[in-house]
Amino acid sequence: MAAGGPLSTDDLVQLLTPAGERIGHQQFDAYASHLTPEELRAMWRDMTLVRAFDKEATSLQRQGELGLWVQSWGQEAAQIGSGHALNSQDFVFPSYREHGVAHTRGVDLVEVLRIFRGLQHGAWTPADHNFHLYTLVIGSHALHATGYAMGLTKDGLVATGDPAKDAAVVAYFGDGATSQGDVAEALTFASVYDAPVVFFVQNNQYAISESATRQSRVPIADRGKGVGIPSVRVDGNDVIASHAVTRWALEHARSGQGPVLIEAFTYRMGAHTTSDDPTRYRPKAEEQLWAERDPIARLEAHLEAAGELPDEFRAEVEAQAKALGERTRTTVRGWTKPDTLGMFDHVYAEPHASVEAERAWFDRYQRSFADQEATR
């Protein structure tokens, strides 16, 4: 791809070099200056836990305990960095790979696996975490995020001057999603209504097998220019930079200045999902190159160089990761199939004749087997 294309690494905001060295940035330094070693350690912990969980889920899928698993491997910095920039009153619309963000919103990662075990389509109550359900239909939720943000404005929760009140929305989606008409319409609505929404694109360079060059001939961040939305490209493997630009964007949105588009340039280190086979479409050398740019290792190098990653802390996180892995295994294996009649629940909020009739029929039908059993 020519320079300036969607895989270009020019103009990425960076606050940590790949070697872990903290560097300055005229605009965004201010949004990272509050980060204490403790907070950086918290990010490192979150990234490490999410990756451990991700691995565990992958192996549970291999063992047949899950139907599918979607890894966030490689995208932890973009997710945890941005997730740590959120206030509790902000609302998030994830795609399906945002386990890192889910974790920062207090969603129990283990519960997420209910979806991938086929028990239910949504596995948490969005209002409890200000974190919407995963959306699998690419791009659809960008519009929901925009509408929710428009609602925040109507509710008077933007530009109040009270930081404990001002709220914004973040919509996460991928490079591939930016080709969808719905995402374009979301950008249009957001800009026209000045909605307090941050579009956070994780450009992980692939939409399943397709390179981001298949979606755009310019950087994905340019999509903002088409509708007058300010945008920024950030090194998505740099957790500090990802955090800083998101803080900036959220302040922009919460203060009534309208939407922002962030492109976090990163890499999907694993397969698209456990059903995918990346050897068919990308060279091992590329994977290796990006393995060397591991986002967790980068923060680790930074903290170590500063002497801020003591062994006790490492050990503590390691133990937590292990415990999470164990809890994941035992919980998932303990899940049993719920009552079949539950399949008919919640189709509507009010009774609907077809659903009621079919539920009643199925109940009788199921019982008829039980009765047959009983009379044998």
């Binding site: 609602g151 249009t188 004749a353």
Partner: protein, 366 residues
């Protein structure tokens, strides 16, 4: 023009009883309204009832919508509650979903039937499924108003009847009023309902007039159980005319036609019972099956193409549940398996009095 489809006596009394309102004594005289006027009044009442109710659509503000159904509302409720949107139907439905998640009750106007399809994905995979996929945690009380069906001599894409394309998807309620009274009541019940409702407005009937009692649904919706009662009520079919020989089932634009057919047939000694379904999802097949068991003969009429239309579902259910009471198979009278043709052909394309009577003759032949 006075309509033939006003049989308020039975239907209204029945409703009043159902809603348990005791306000009959103070009821003011009913007002005469067009259907468009009744929907306008219903929207206004809903917006006054609940400040979270807002309208979204193309040209619904200053213009009042291309059919003037939202006339005056922008002036009285302002930009914040009557929102002219960008020209993007998926965007309208998608952002309405987000607003509903934030506690609003968006009422969308789609300008014409043929322009609902860019929003099809948002309606089918998002709006319809959110309550289910969230295990009941998220309600989406979104109403999508669609002026639909033909008969007005319009150009392409302005005369379609896509209701069956939505009825197959669980999670949506699909209703269509046939009279100003029902238009007034049902739009308010649809807005009050916690479920997404597609509200199909028979545009050729917009200027038909009828008496509207504005008090009944108000009393109903002001109660704590109003949303439930109202949802249940708009989901029930209405016997628009009692009869004993043949049941003619219809909804929306063609109810008037069914009543005309009944009038003509009465002259020939055939007593037609006319059922106005009002709701397509749920389909009140119980009411139809009851009638079918009585008359033994059923004809279904709608404007949508017959093939794979909602008449197919109704026909199947009547056969399944009343087979041994039927003297003849259920017949369907609908549009043809072609795109909606040029306006000069529309009266050939649409179900006509002759075609309905032809079907009635056929079922009467057994």
């Amino acid at each position: 023009m006075t309509t033939l489809d006003e049989r308020p006596a039975t239907a209204r009394t029945q409703h009043a009883a159902a809603s348990g309102s005791g306000a009959r004594a103070e009821r003011p005289a009913p007002t005469t309204m067009t259907m468009a006027g009744a929907i306008n009044a219903g929207l206004r009442a809903a917006m006054e009832r609940d400040p979270k109710t807002l309208l979204m659509g193309e040209d619904i503000g200053a213009l009042g919508g291309v059919f003037r159904v939202t006339d005056g509302l922008h002036k009285d409720f302002g930009d914040d509650r009557v929102m002219d949107t960008p020209l993007a139907e998926s965007g309208i439905v998608g952002t309405a979903i987000g607003m509903a998640m934030r506690g609003y009750r968006p009422v969308i106007e789609i300008q014409f039937d043929g322009f609902i399809f860019p929003a099809y994905d948002q309606i089918t995979t998002q709006l319809a499924k959110m309550h289910y996929r969230s295990g009941g945690a998220i309600q989406l009380p979104v109403v999508i108003r669609v002026p639909f069906a033909g008969g007005i001599g319009a150009v392409e894409h302005h005369s379609e009847s896509p209701e069956a394309l939505f009825a197959h998807t669980a999670g949506l309620r699909i209703v269509s009023p046939a009279t100003p009274q029902d238009a007034f009541d049902m739009i308010q019940q649809a807005i009050a309902s916690p479920d997404p409702v597609m509200f199909f407005e028979p545009k050729a009937r917009y200027w038909d007039k009828g008496e509207v009692d504005t008090t009944r649904v108000k009393a109903q919706l002001d109660t704590a159980a109003g949303a439930s009662t109202g949802t249940a009520e708009m989901s029930r079919a209405r016997v628009a005319r009692e009869g004993s020989d043949v049941t003619v089932v219809s909804y929306g634009p063609t109810v008037r036609l069914a009543l005309q057919a009944a009038q003509v047939a009465a002259g020939d000694g055939t007593d037609i019972e006319v059922i106005d379904l009002r709701s397509i999802s749920p389909l009140d097949s119980d009411t139809v099956v009851k009638s079918a068991r009585k008359t033994g003969r059923v004809v279904v009429v709608h404007e949508a193409p017959t093939s794979f239309g909602s008449g197919a579902e109704l026909s199947s259910r009547v056969h399944e549940q009343a087979f041994f009471h039927l003297h003849a198979p259920v017949l369907r009278v609908g549009g043809f398996s072609t795109p909606y043709p040029g306006a000069v052909f529309e009266h050939d394309y649409l179900p006509s009095l002759d075609r309905v009577l032809d079907a009635v003759d056929k079922v009467m032949a057994h």
